[in-house]
Every structure is written in structure tokens, then in C-alpha cells.
């Protein structure tokens, strides 16, 4: 999901001062003043930490359970997190299990983001030191316990597969030593392994722990939660963003067998029933009128035109923020001629369209709240629930389940669907659990899209054909504005990828600015966030500049990376090109390289046109993600990330007509299917650096790689996505 965020912004961010005041008032005084945000978020939470700390539990039979502070919704992070612990602990990997942590920001905050939140492709990177130390610490406790029992020196003991062995041949398993080890004081300082001695990390033994339960139907998702006396709710939402209920007639809805209650909540009208089907039938029987005075009534075409006008400087009221300015670019504005390149790119709104539509289970009993669902941002969700019921955020208990995808959708400052569920459960009260179910239509029309975005690019080449001056204008909607993670300066989520681009570093004169007009369509991060458009704008521009300069696009990149000192880009590009070797006959190649979430991904994509539609075959990928903890999961993320990016580049587009979302299901929001899927080959650049992101960096590269192949094939540049536009 989100961009790397300044931890300082985050520390200020959550919870806001107002939230603290609300919380302290609730406990009748100033109890919380002076506490850290993590203290506040944890107050009221009961988590019993065992002898081996908050991340490791060991059973009497010696089996190791790793507690994950991060949700698993496909990224494979549970495998990697468990492997980090198992490596340093020298545990028997075949018996290691993973359990989801409760909500407690003090114990389980994301070290990068400051809140308990999975995002920014940071699960492995922010846990790397923390879990290595946790594993090594527990190992040291077992070694000390064995040394005490056998009356030998700790240096004479080795550990392998959960068994400790003394040089004399004596052995004991974790289970046998458990009681003694639990009494050993945790070491203040631990020695970590030399990565060269790793026997698990970096091997193909690191496999998913959930493949079986996700292949036999027993993995538990929010949609599957069944609790005694549980009710199911659906909500009727307004036809446009910002609409409010004007009048409600629930007479017919209440007659539907199984419907229990119908009432208004801030986001619409809730229909609560015994079953999902009854709730849906009840909703269909509602008679509703909406007040749309303050609703967003513009269509996406009008919004796109506004953004283009802003980018072209036609709208003088717009506030611009410069994010990269070097040298004097004034001459570029009026520059013309053979050495001048100018274009505008248009990127549409995109829906996340997770396989499991948004949903949540909540039970509210007075000021007690229990949430059972696939929570991606536990701290944010606690805060939202606490505000609604009036309790301490930390006392909102969350049982985090698997989620059927997120791609950023479930980490949301408004906790939109969670808040909706808590409002309903509060009205039902008495601790009776309520499952809020969104249909596919509810999900797709609820907004929180990847923002519609315009890039206007103008570049003057020097006499050798390389960029001498680069003017870049981005017009988008702010994701961070108004959020507790807003921070200062331009919204990084709109510019990341253009900001920091090696191509801009290699250009002497740069004038890059961003404008973020207010629009009433809710927007959110979407797998790889800013890179979803910046990678395309930068990488497709580079191929067009290379063509203008009469140079090979790969050599052109190499020259610019060398100028910019972008060694990791160069290495990833070189590896992908080397592994791609000779092109497949009948296919045209396109190359793209992009860095996001600390990792660099290069792709060589083979493309051909079938009935005018791009078909993507072999995609040779190279990634530099630091130490590769679980190579097979990195490959899976490159495969999946490429499909996700290709789906959007080929077909992804949410349009609005007069403020109403035109798409509501997979019939009109087309997504990639198996017959359209590429074959992705993953190559990992050897690295001794700490791990960096994997979940998102595979997504943004394929779009420009395909555009570059098409440009090579028919000399036509792509200035608007998706490649295949529907008849809508």
C-alpha cells in the first residue's frame, strides 16, 4: 500500500490531539496526558507476553509459534517473518507455525510506520532486526538452560532443528528444556548470525505455512465468521459520493422474512437480518430518497479535463508545490524543435477489486468492542471504533483474520467499512455480533480509488541526445491530505518515483511540480501507490527520448544510470537483459526499470498484438530487494504483482458519469484472466543489504514495459491508460 512515510510525521499523527482529549475525558481525567501514542493505543489492552517475548511462543512439545504483527493477505509475509525467527532460533522449520498478533501498538507497531499497520511493503524490512533479535534471544535462553543443566560451557553447545547438542554427545530438545529456558533472564544483548551462515533464509525451504488451509477451504476469512447469535448487515449507500439520506421508508423491507432491523447510519441505511440473503432482499425493498446537495456530481471526463487544464497552466487558482528544482528552466517553457519532447499522460481511477469484498464483524457491549476481521491497520481501526463507541482505542479488541486481498484498500484513515460495522453493532448493542457484508457492487462503488492522474512532461535534449532540461507537472488528488499521516510538504504518494528518479538526477536543469486539486471522489493507495503512474510516465518517456536521440533504449538507460550513480538500477537492468537473452521469434520486447519501496525491479517483456489487443508472453524480471528472505515468495510476488499491474494497464478504468460510478462488477470492470496472464521469470540480484519491499515493487513496471514494446512495434506512444478501453 502506502509510501514510505516520515516516522516523525507518523509519531505526531496518531492519534490526533483531539482523539487524546476524547480518550482522556472518557476515563474521567488527564490520565493519558504525557503518554506516548503507543501507550495511548495500548491502554486497556490485555496481552500476556510469554517468557520468550511478544513474537515467540514455544509449546511443551517444543513446537515454535511465531506471532506475526502483520496481516497475511497474499504477500507471503507470514512465511518470511517466521523464517527470520526460525533462522536465528535454529528451530525445526517443518514444525514452525504462525499466529496473528492481537491489536497492541506498543508491542506490535510497524517500526517504519509507527502504528500497527501492514503496508508500504515493509513487513519484512521493519521486522528484520526485531525478529532476528527475538529468535537469537530465545536461542540464547535455551543454550543457557542446557549449559546449566549439563554443567558445561555455553560455547560447547550447538543448536539445530530445535535440538541442543553438547560436544560430549548429550542432546535435549526445546520441549525438554522449555521450563528451564523460560526461567533464564532474556539476554540484554544478543549475537546475530553472520548472514553467510544462514541455512534457512534465502533457501527454497521457506514455503508458505498456509498453502494447505488455503487449498482445502478451511482458511478463515471475515466472510466465513460464524458466531453464536450473529446477525448479518448490508448498507444502502447513496448514488454519489457525499450523498445523505433524505427520507427512508422501511415498511416493506421490514416485512422481508429474516430482516431484524432497519436504521440510518452516517453512511446510509443499514438492513440487519438473520442471513446475508435476507439482508440483501431487505435492502432491495427499501424506499429511499437522497439529499445530494453536497455530493460530487462531476464525471471522470470533466475531472480529467480539469486536471489537464491545471497541468497546462490554464487554471491559475491552482497551488503548485515544487519537489525538484535545479537550474533555470524558464527557457524550456517556450522551447521548440527537434531536440524538444513534450507529451501528456492520463491515468484513470482504479478500483482495488479484492476477491473478498470489504467486510467486518463487530460486537459492541457498552464501551466494549470486539472486531473480528482482516484488519490491515489495527491502530487506525481501533481509533475509528473508539471514537464511535466512546472508549479507549487500546481497549478495542481485534482478532485479525486472513483477508482475501487488499492491495491497499483495507488500510484506510477513515476505516470506512469498519466504522460502518461498528455503528451498526453499537445500535444492535448487548455484545451481539454483526457481520457487515458488502456485495461486489457496494465494494466497487465505494470509492477509495487510485486517483485519476495527469503527467505533463517536457524535455530538452542536449547535443548528445541526453536530457538537458526536464519540466514535469503532476496533477492528481492527495491521498494524505487531511489524514493524521499528512505531514509537511508535497504529498509523497503523488510524486514518489518521479521524485527521486535517476533520470532527473542525471538532468542538469529540472523543474518538477505537483498540484492536487480537491475532488469529492475518495482516493487511496493502490498497490505501489505513486509508482502506479510515475513509473509509467518516467519509463515510457525514456524510450521516446531514446528514439528521438537515435539510441537503443537499454543503452540509453545504462548511460543515464551511470550519470546518476544509480548502480542498483544498472545491476537490475543488466541482470534482466542478460537472463532474457535472445528474443522469442514473433514477439517484440519492451524494457522498464523502477525503484519503489526500497527495491529496484527491471523487466524485459515480450509483447505482440492479437486483434489489436496487446498480448504479453514472457516477462523476464530482475529484483534487487536486499537479502532475499524467501526467494519463492519473492517470485510469487513478482508473478502476482506483474499480473496486477498488467490487469490495470490493459483494462483497469473506473469512470464516473455525473458523479456516479459506471462500473459495479467484473462484467464492466475487466480484470486479467488466466488466458491473458504472462509467464514471469524472477531473478534476484545478490545483495547483502537489509531486506526491502517485495509486495508492491513488481506491480508498476509491466505497464511501461508493454508500452515500450508497442512503441518499438508500431512507433505509437501510449498517452492514456488502459491500453484496451471499454465501450463505456
Amino acid at each position: 500500500m502506502n509510501a514510505p512515510v516520515n516516522p516523525k510525521d507518523l509519531a505526531q499523527a496518531q492519534p490526533s490531539r483531539r482523539d487524546v482529549v476524547v480518550a482522556s475525558a472518557l476515563v474521567g481525567g488527564t490520565l493519558l496526558v504525557g503518554c506516548s501514542p503507543a501507550d495511548i493505543m495500548s491502554a486497556g489492552s490485555k496481552v500476556e507476553v510469554g517468557a520468550f517475548g511478544p513474537f515467540i511462543k514455544i509449546a511443551p512439545d517444543g513446537a515454535v509459534t511465531v506471532i506475526s504483527k502483520h496481516i497475511e493477505f497474499g504477500q507471503g509475509n507470514h512465511a518470511g517473518l517466521a523464517a527470520i525467527v526460525a533462522e536465528e532460533l535454529d528451530a525445526d522449520w517443518s514444525k514452525v507455525q504462525v499466529e496473528q498478533a492481537p491489536a497492541n501498538a506498543k508491542l506490535y507497531a510497524n517500526g517504519t510506520l509507527g502504528a500497527q499497520l501492514t503496508g508500504g511493503s515493509s513487513a519484512i524490512s521493519n521486522s528484520w532486526d526485531q525478529l532476528r533479535k527475538a529468535g537469537a534471544g530465545a536461542r540464547a535462553m535455551f543454550v543457557q538452560a542446557a549449559a546449566n543443566r549439563w554443567n558445561v560451557a555455553v560455547g560447547e553447545i550447538t543448536v539445530k532443528d530445535s535440538v541442543l547438542t553438547h560436544t560430549s554427545g548429550k542432546t535435549a530438545g526445546f520441549g525438554e528444556l522449555l521450563a528451564d529456558a523460560a526461567k533464564v533472564p532474556p539476554p540484554a544483548d544478543v549475537r546475530l548470525k553472520d548472514p553467510k551462515t544462514f541455512t534457512l533464509i534465502g533457501t527454497d525451504r521457506v514455503r508458505r505455512k498456509d498453502a494447505q488451509i488455503k487449498s482445502d477451504g478451511t482458511a478463515r476469512y471475515t466472510q466465513d465468521v460464524r458466531l453464536p447469535d450473529m446477525l448479518t448487515a448490508v448498507v444502502a449507500h447513496g448514488p454519489r459520493f457525499g450523498a445523505k439520506v433524505k427520507s427512508l421508508d422501511a415498511t416493506e423491507a421490514k416485512k422481508v422474512p429474516g430482516v431484524v432491523d432497519v436504521f440510518e447510519i452516517p453512511t446510509g441505511v443499514a438492513v440487519v437480518a438473520q442471513t446475508t440473503y435476507a439482508a440483501r432482499m431487505g435492502r432491495e425493498a427499501l424506499k429511499l430518497e437522497w439529499d445530494e446537495d453536497k455530493a460530487e456530481k462531476r464525471g471522470s471526463a470533466a475531472i480529467a479535463q480539469l486536471f489537464k487544464d491545471v497541468a497546462a497552466g490554464k487554471n491559475t487558482e491552482t497551488k503548485w508545490d515544487a519537489f525538484d528544482q535545479r537550474g533555470d528552466a524558464t527557457a524550456l517553457a517556450s522551447a521548440k524543435g527537434d531536440r524538444v519532447f513534450e507529451t501528456t499522460y492520463e491515468f484513470p481511477y482504479l478500483a482495488h477489486a479484492t476477491m473478498e469484498p470489504m467486510n467486518c464483524v463487530a460486537a459492541v457491549d457498552g464501551s466494549k468492542v470486539k472486531l473480528t476481521f482482516g484488519s490491515q491497520g489495527q491502530t487506525l481501526d481501533q481509533l475509528a471504533a473508539a471514537k464511535i463507541v466512546g472508549c479507549l482505542p487500546g481497549s478495542v479488541e481485534i482478532e485479525t483474520l486472513f483477508a482475501g486481498g487488499s492491495f491497499g484498500r483495507r488500510a484506510n484513515f477513515q476505516s470506512d467499512y469498519v466504522a460502518e460495522c461498528v455503528h451498526i453493532a453499537k445500535k444492535i448493542g448487548k455484545g451481539r455480533p454483526v457481520k457487515l457484508v458488502w456485495t461486489r457492487e457496494d465494494d466497487m462503488r465505494a470509492g477509495y480509488f487510485r486517483p485519476l492522474t495527469i503527467h505533463a512532461v517536457k524535455v530538452q535534449l542536449d547535443k548528445d541526445g541526453y536530457p538537458a532540461a526536464w519540466r514535469h507537472r503532476i496533477v492528481s488528488q492527495s491521498i494524505m491530505k487531511g489524514s493524521p499521516m499528512g505531514g509537511k510538504g508535497p504529498d509523497q504518494t503523488a510524486i514518489e518515483g518521479t521524485a527521486g528518479s535517476p533520470y532527473l538526477k542525471a538532468t542538469p536543469i529540472v523543474d518538477a511540480q505537483v498540484a492536487l486539486p480537491d475532488v469529492g471522489v475518495p482516493v487511496l493507495w493502490w498497490r505501489s501507490v505513486g509508482a502506479t503512474h510515475t513509473a509509467f510516465a518516467m519509463e515510457h518517456t525514456i524510450d521516446q527520448l531514446a528514439a528521438k536521440a537515435g539510441k537503443d533504449p537499454i543503452e540509453y538507460r545504462r548511460a543515464l544510470y551511470t550519470k546518476a550513480g544509480a548502480d542498483r538500477h544498472l545491476a537490475a537492468l543488466n541482470l534482466a537483459v542478460e537472463k532474457a537473452s535472445a528474443p522469442t521469434v514473433g514477439w517484440t520486447r519492451g524494457v522498464a526499470v523502477h525503484e519503489s519501496f526500497g527495491s529496484v525491479v527491471a523487466q524485459v517483456a515480450e509483447v505482440k498484438l492479437e486483434d489489436g489487443v496487446p498480448r504479453v508472453g514472457r516477462v523476464v524480471t530482475a529484483i534487487d530487494c536486499g537479502v532475499a528472505v524467501s526467494p519463492d515468495q519473492i517470485a510469487a510476488q513478482m508473478e502476482g504483482g506483474t499480473c496486477y499491474g498488467l490487469s490495470a494497464a490493459l483494462f483497469g478504468e473506473v469512470t464516473l458519469t455525473d458523479g456516479q460510478v459506471d462500473q459495479s462488477n467484473f462484467d464492466r470492470y475487466r480484470v486479467l484472466r488466466i488466458n491473458e496472464a504472462p509467464m514471469v521469470e524472477t531473478n534476484i540480484v545478490p545483495s547483502g543489504n537489509p531486506p526491502s519491499g517485495v509486495g508492491e515493487p513488481g506491480t508498476p513496471v509491466i505497464g511501461p514495459a508493454v508500452a515500450n514494446a508497442l512503441f518499438s512495434l508500431n512507433k505509437t506512444a501510449t498517452t492514456r491508460l488502459p491500453f484496451v478501453r471499454s465501450e463505456a
Binding site: D216, Q223, R226, Y277, A353, M355, G405, V671, N675
Partner: protein
């Protein structure tokens, strides 16, 4: 309406309105939550079950249309079906939400075409969306399961027999 459905070889009494989609009877009435809700209009395949061996979308199949047909769900495969084993060997699932439907479609394909070509796989599986994009592993796992051949004399035999015995057009790739 009280009806008796044949689910995974067991006669199962259910109480539901005749137009209720089979999906919601399975999930809400019977607590068989392995079959997933994804789109509600036969677009995504997450709700795929077998009706007399044919893959169908249970979200658009009212129980009144089921009659005495044999229903097989993901629970009916038993967990160690060759296709499920291949799924685990290849670490196919990511978020996993679509995989029950993917596996049911794959089982039906292999029952009819024990050695499917890439084109057969495309045709049979194009109605099942995976937003995580596990497609190349799905393809590999199907081929792997095909190489291992049909299960021998185990509890899955009757299910596979039912699949093989079934004939006629399928709605594989429905909703395209």
C-alpha cells in the same frame, strides 16, 4: 421450503426459499464456508461447485434448480485430493480466497481431460479470477496434478467417477 440436497454424498435437509442461491444455503444455512462469495453474478468463479460433476457458479444457481443432482464442494474433496496436493506443492495460494473455486474448476477439467493442453487450461479456467495473479502457478499445478494421474482406490474415487460420468456442455469460462 424444506428440501433435501445431496451434498458431498450426504442427503442434507435445508430450509430456504426456493429462489435462494445455492451459495448462500451452503454458507449461511449449512456453515460450509469453503465455497466463497466473490461477485454474485457468475463473473469470478469463487463460488464454483460441481453439480453432477459439472462446474457451476453457485451464486446464480437457485436451490430449486438443483433437484436431486449431486453437489460436490471443496469440503468434499477431502483436503488431500491430487489437485489440492499439487496446489500445496506449488504454493499456489496467495490471499487464497479464490482458490476453492479454482480447484473445483481444475478438478472438473482434469476429470474430463486428464492431460490438458495450455488451451484446455485457458478454456476451463478463464472463468475463475485470481486478483493476486497466481495464474502461472495454477497452470503449473494443474499440469503437475495431471502428471500424477487420477487417485487410486481412495475416498475421492466416487467423486471423480461422478465427474467423469458427467457429460454435456459446461459453463467453464462462464461470464466472459
Amino acid at each position: 421450503m424444506a428440501v433435501t440436497l445431496d451434498i458431498n454424498g450426504k442427503p442434507t435437509a435445508v430450509q430456504a426459499a426456493p429462489e435462494t442461491p445455492l451459495l448462500w444455503v451452503l454458507r449461511d444455512e449449512l456453515g460450509m464456508t469453503g465455497t466463497k462469495f466473490g461477485c454474485g453474478m457468475a463473473q469470478c468463479g469463487a463460488c464454483t461447485v460441481h453439480l453432477d460433476g459439472q462446474p457451476i457458479r453457485s451464486c446464480v444457481t437457485p436451490i430449486e434448480a438443483v433437484g436431486s443432482a449431486k453437489i460436490t464442494t471443496i469440503e468434499g474433496l477431502g483436503g488431500q485430493h491430487p489437485v489440492q496436493q499439487a496446489w500445496v506443492r506449488h504454493d499456489v495460494p496467495q490471499c487464497g480466497y479464490c482458490q476453492s473455486g479454482q480447484i473445483m474448476s481444475a478438478c472438473a477439467l482434469l476429470a474430463q481431460k486428464p492431460k490438458p493442453s495450455d488451451e484446455d487450461i485457458d478454456n476451463a479456467m478463464a472463468g475463475n479470477i485470481c486478483r493476486c495473479g497466481a495464474y502461472q502457478r495454477i497452470r503449473a499445478a494443474i499440469k503437475d496434478a495431471a502428471d500424477f494421474g487420477p487417485p487410486q482406490g481412495d475416498k475421492h474415487a466416487d467423486i471423480d467417477e461422478a465427474i467423469v460420468a458427467a457429460s454435456g456442455a459446461t459453463n467453464r469460462g462462464a461470464g466472459r
